[in-house]
Symmetry: C2
Amino acid sequence: MSQINHQRYYDCEDCLFKTISCQYIQKEEFEKLRSKSIQLKYKKGEVILKQGAKSTHFLFLRKGIIKFNYEDENGKNLILSINKAPALIGGANLVNAEFNLFSVCAIEDCEGCTIDVALLTRIALGNTLYLFKMLQFITDVFRSSIFNFISLAHKQVNGRIADILIFLSQNIYMNNDFVLSLSRQEFAEFAGCSKENVIHTLRKFHNEGLITLEGKKIILNDPERLQKISKHG
Amino acid sequence: MSQINHQRYYDCEDCLFKTISCQYIQKEEFEKLRSKSIQLKYKKGEVILKQGAKSTHFLFLRKGIIKFNYEDENGKNLILSINKAPALIGGANLVNAEFNLFSVCAIEDCEGCTIDVALLTRIALGNTLYLFKMLQFITDVFRSSIFNFISLAHKQVNGRIADILIFLSQNIYMNNDFVLSLSRQEFAEFAGCSKENVIHTLRKFHNEGLITLEGKKIILNDPERLQKISKHG
DNA sequence: ATTAAAAACTGCATTATTTCATCTTTGAAT
DNA sequence: ATTCAAAGATGAAATAATGCAGTTTTTAAT
C-alpha cells in the first residue's frame, strides 16, 4: 500500500463521499478534506486497519469488499462483519477515540481514500446535520453485524451457514450466483464453527440441490428453502 | 408503570444525568428537559422498551439492572447485553431513528426518568460537545455486547459460561459474591445454549470448587481459573 | 511444464450439546 | 397451611460438532 508519490487513480468528481458531503458542507470545506486525503489501492488479503493500532484516519472505501476481523489472545480469528463499498471504515472510534478494536482487511481488491479524522471531526462539529450523516454512515457498517450476532447466538450451524449464504447474496454480491471471496477457513471464522463443518454443510446443501457448488463459485438454487433452514427448519 | 399523577420519587438534584448535562448546557436548558421528563419505577420483569415499537423517549436509568432482549420469528429469546444503572437506554435510535430493534426489560427493580428524544436532539444539535457526550453514553451500552458476541462466536459453552460469570461479577455486581438476577433460562438465552447445559455446567463448576452455587447465590471462588477456562483451557 | 505449498475435501472417532422424561424445590396465591 | 405452577435439577439417549489423519485439488512460483 506504499504510495510514495500519492498518485491519483481516479477522479474525485464522481465520488459518492464528495456528493454526500457537498449536500451539507461548502465546496471549500470539502476541498480541505480532499487536499489532505490520499488515494490508496489494496490487494485482496491486505490489512487496511490493524487491530490495536491507533486510528489516524478513516478510509472511505470506494470499491471492493472488506472484512472486520478480531484476533483473540490465542491467535484465533473471528470475522464480525463483511461489508462492500461504499462505506466509511474506521468510524468505531469517532466517538470514543482510542485504538482499533478490530482489523479491517480487503477480501477483494479495494480502492479508497484516507480521510483525516481530526479535520472531519472539526468540520462536522461545526455542522451538526453533516455530523449526523457521518454517524449514520459509520453505524451502517455495524448494523449488519448485529444480525450475524443474533444468528450465531441461537442457531445451529445449518442455519448459520444458510444465513451467511443469504446475507452474501443479498447484501454483498447482489446476486444468487456469485464467486465467494472467502476461503473455507474464513467462512468458518464468520460462521463460528470449524472449517470441516463448513465444507460438510455446503456439500450437504449441494447434494440436496439447495445450492450448486463449484469450488469458489456458488449458486443459490432455492433461496426460499434456505430461508426456511435459516428459520430453523 | 402507569403514573397518572407523575409523582416524583426522588430529587433531581443529585442525578448523574443532570450533573453531566450541566457541564455542557445551561441550567435553563436542562430545566426544559427536566420539565418534560417523568419519573418511573419498573418492577423486576417489566418491559421498559418494546421491540418493534416506536421510541418516543429515552430512559435515563438511575437505578437497577436491565437486559436487552431480542425475540426472533419463532418466539425464541436472546439476551444481547446486560447493563446496570447509570445508563442512557434507547439511544440505538438517536442516529437512525426508526423502531426499537430490541426490547429492554428490568431484571431487577429499576428507577429512571423519560427523556424527550426530540428535545434532547434539538439541544444537542446546538451544542456539539454535549452531543458527543450523549453519543458516548449511548455507545457505552453497546460496548459490552461486542465482547459477548466474540465470546459466543468462538468459544464452547464452558468458556461462554465462565465469561458470563466474570462479566457479571466485574461489570454488574462488582463483587465475586452475588445473587443472580437471571433465571437459568435467561442465563441460557445470554450464553446461547440450552438451560440444561447451563445447569449442568454451573453444577460442574460447583463440584470442581470453582464456584459455590446455592440457588440464585453464586460465589466465584477462583476467578483466575475461570479466566483460564474462558481462554479455552 | 514442473514442483511445492496451500486450500479443499472426506470419513471417522471423539467430544460437546441438545432434547426428553422425570423428579424436586421454590414461591406465590388462596 | 395448602395447593398449584414455575423454576431448578438430573441422567440418559439422540444429535451435532470438532479434530484428526490422510487424499485430492488448486494455486503460485520457478
